[in-house]
């Protein structure tokens, strides 16, 4: 994976497979504390403790189409090569939270990549799932909530190309505005 946006696309697929109806994404950029956190929480079916212990093993997967599962192991590796770590917590019937912490200024820390595009691809491909994306930069915060978007759209499909493009630009501009 070349950047964190690609990891995000990948990790959220786990939440979708787990039957989540609400997926919460946090990107927390704290240059002053030299930390960067990317976290995905869902209300999917969750995992038992013994399964949580196994998910970072590349030869463990719950799927039957193939024998390896590399999403979480690669995410963990990306976090650890930047001096950070990956933490997963899960409870059956409640959901799962995957949090990766990175050393912000570490030379091996992956670039963040195009997060607005990743969010919009996920949102438009899964219109029935609600997403809440929070971006934090130092103390400033921007929240993109698909429930609010759907309310504003009053039934107009969210995955209509004009709307997709608008939403992507909206997220991008709001994220940039926090850094000024």
């Amino acid at each position: 994976m070349n950047d964190l946006a690609l990891h995000l696309l990948d990790i959220v697929q786990n939440s979708i497979s787990a039957g989540a109806s609400l997926i919460t994404i946090l990107l927390d950029e704290q240059p002053l504390n030299d930390s960067l956190t990317l976290s995905v929480s869902d209300n999917g079916r969750g995992m038992a403790a013994e399964q949580v212990a196994k998910v970072t093993d590349p030869y463990f997967t719950s799927r039957t189409t193939r024998k390896v599962g590399l999403g979480i192991p690669l995410f963990k590796q990306s976090a650890e090569t930047s001096g950070g770590q990956l933490i997963m917590t899960s409870a059956l019937g409640v959901g799962t939270t995957t949090t990766a912490m990175f050393g912000y200024s570490h030379i091996d820390r992956l670039p963040i990549g195009n997060i607005p595009n990743a969010i919009i691809l996920l949102v438009s491909a899964n219109p029935d799932i609600d997403f809440i994306y929070t971006y934090r930069y130092n103390k400033e915060e921007y929240i993109f909530d698909t429930k609010e978007v759907k309310e504003a759209l009053e039934g107009t499909p969210l995955n209509e190309p004009t709307i997709i493009k608008y939403l992507e630009e909206m997220i991008e501009e709001n994220m940039k505005a926090l850094k000024i």
């Binding site: 990948d10 697929q13 709307i163």
Partner: protein
Amino acid sequence: MNKIKSLSDLRKIKQDVENRLDLREKSDNPERHVQIKVAMATCGIASGAREVMNAFIEKIAQDKLDAIVTQTGCMGYCHAEPTVEIRKPGEEPIVYGHVDVEKAVAIVDKYIKQGELLEGIIPVNYQTV
């Protein structure tokens, strides 16, 4: 600097979109539309599925096609990623392998619009869930 885009402005463009949609509610009746499913598991993403999905969305917007782009997980064809499943109404789905931006455009122009089969089809016999 221009004003930052917000949800209140979204309400304005929503009206234009509605006028163009001419009552065909996409989300309610997906069977009427061509479905393009981009496989986006770890294997797909690592081989460029994101660029392919963006290319399909852009092409469909450009040509104003009645199609929706969604994602699927890994279908077990990791060797041929990025893979894309095209499902036309009333037809058996077809899976194309090794799709890149150029091929995505060709799939729309030749297969979706004209029904002409392109190279790179993965012979399959499965049902998606």
